[in-house]
Amino acid sequence: MSNDVVVAGVGMHPWGKWGRSFVEYGVHAARAALTDAAVDWRDVDLVVGGETVRNGYGGYVAGATFAQALGWNGARVATSYAACATGAQALDTARARILAGMCDVALVVGADTTPKGFLAPNAGERWDDPDWLRFRLLGMTNPAYFALYARRRMDLYGATQEDFAQVKVKNARHGLSNPYARYRKEVSAADVLGSAVVSDPLHLLDICATSDGAAAVVLTSVEHARKLGLADPVRVRAISTVTPTFPNTVLDMPNLSTDSSAVAGAPERTFKESIAHAAYEEAGIGPEDVGLAEVYDLSTALELDWIEDLGLCRRGEAETLLRAGDTTIGGRIPVNPSGGLACFGEAVPAQALAQVCEVTWQLRGQAAGRQVEGARVGITANQGLFGHGSSVLLSR
């Protein structure tokens, strides 16, 4: 039995620093997705919102907030929080209800309004909260974690800061004509290397910004898609939202330590490897079938980690792909054809859905100015705080 569901419509609000309510962005994206699907909002029977912790009461009850703003229509409602994987978890909730036969049309929405600068923990003293303690005791910011991973690539695999800069150069070029991208400007390696070092070895332009933005997806059952007259639609083949397997031996944000492998033994796969592995297993699709990838480039160096975590090359070989142009549009396996977080900046609860929007446009052949020719299978990947991560596999 197929566990596929159909992406009937996708929509986004442009990323930026707009300073308005996340609700406005979310409704804009939702209406765009409904228009794309040619579905009337009143026919949606489930709405799932991606929670945004920075935006108060409305953000914590995102599903209902979007439903009310769209006009109460009696739909079932759910709200998801999974840090950077929020959108995928929301999508998975919608898929489950569709596959159970309890829903025909679901609308999934994620939107955020972000503060300027470093993402900091919520106010108040919380001596039992690792996300508070890492700032209090160590001054350990998010970029510092990205920098640890980047440094390991340099010391273990011979990556250079020039390689990291070239990831930015590539992604900046990819995003040039993406109407939803916040930054649409060529960047040179010299620009990256000339920008301030934030956390050695990463420069300011190696690290993604935080942005306002919104993305929405309309999901339907395969059967309902036929009723809507959708021919050869993009299908969701797998959604992986696995948690780590003990012992988690790679230091994860916001933790101060890893699990010990002394008793349980090192796991077969790292957490990030297991996220992709679960998606491939669920879909019965392998990395060799993938035509493009949208991965979470919180830093330039992290994109290189993801390429290996997704099995697109062996460990330590991502720089070789990069230098050969394999990950550029027109290359063997384009990575972040949207421009990635480098061009968007992160809007946490929207970002995993934005990846799905981009892959959908790519597989439909609608990614004007950044189209990966002939792509039939696309994969997304991200990881966030507290053991959250996701990967979505889509195909025509």
């Binding site: 700032f135 920098a147 031996t249 890893t258």
Partner: protein, 149 residues
Amino acid sequence: MTATPAIEGWFTTGAQPALVGTRCTTCTTVFFPPTAGAGFCRNPACGGEAFEDVELSRHGVIWSYTDAQYQPPPPYVPRAPYEPFALAAVELPEGLVVLGQVADGYGVDDLRVGAEAELVVETLYTDDQGDHTIWRWKPVVEMGAEADG
């Protein structure tokens, strides 16, 4: 003025300071910080609920390292004026990696993945109650290491 740990019960002080972990008495898995698990063993194969404090090894191998060129946001308490500091993640013989700031006077140029580091305790910040101390990683430079480099 007195010196007190910036967090209670996570490390010992004195001439040979050490991190204080907690060991499950059922499966012997070690955890740090000692509050990890809140009384329940996190090894999914173990139902243990009894723990004992254990001092972790004072030496380990650098897993990776970086620094903080910009002042971190609160609740970090910076020195005034702000001075950038290095950070290291160090893998201990107990099979876990523990983050820490790097000892005063050392920067990223003194560190590399795979090199040895030793635990020290230094002042994190000072307020009207005195010095507040924290564990830090200090690179171990053997005599003649430069020649081997």
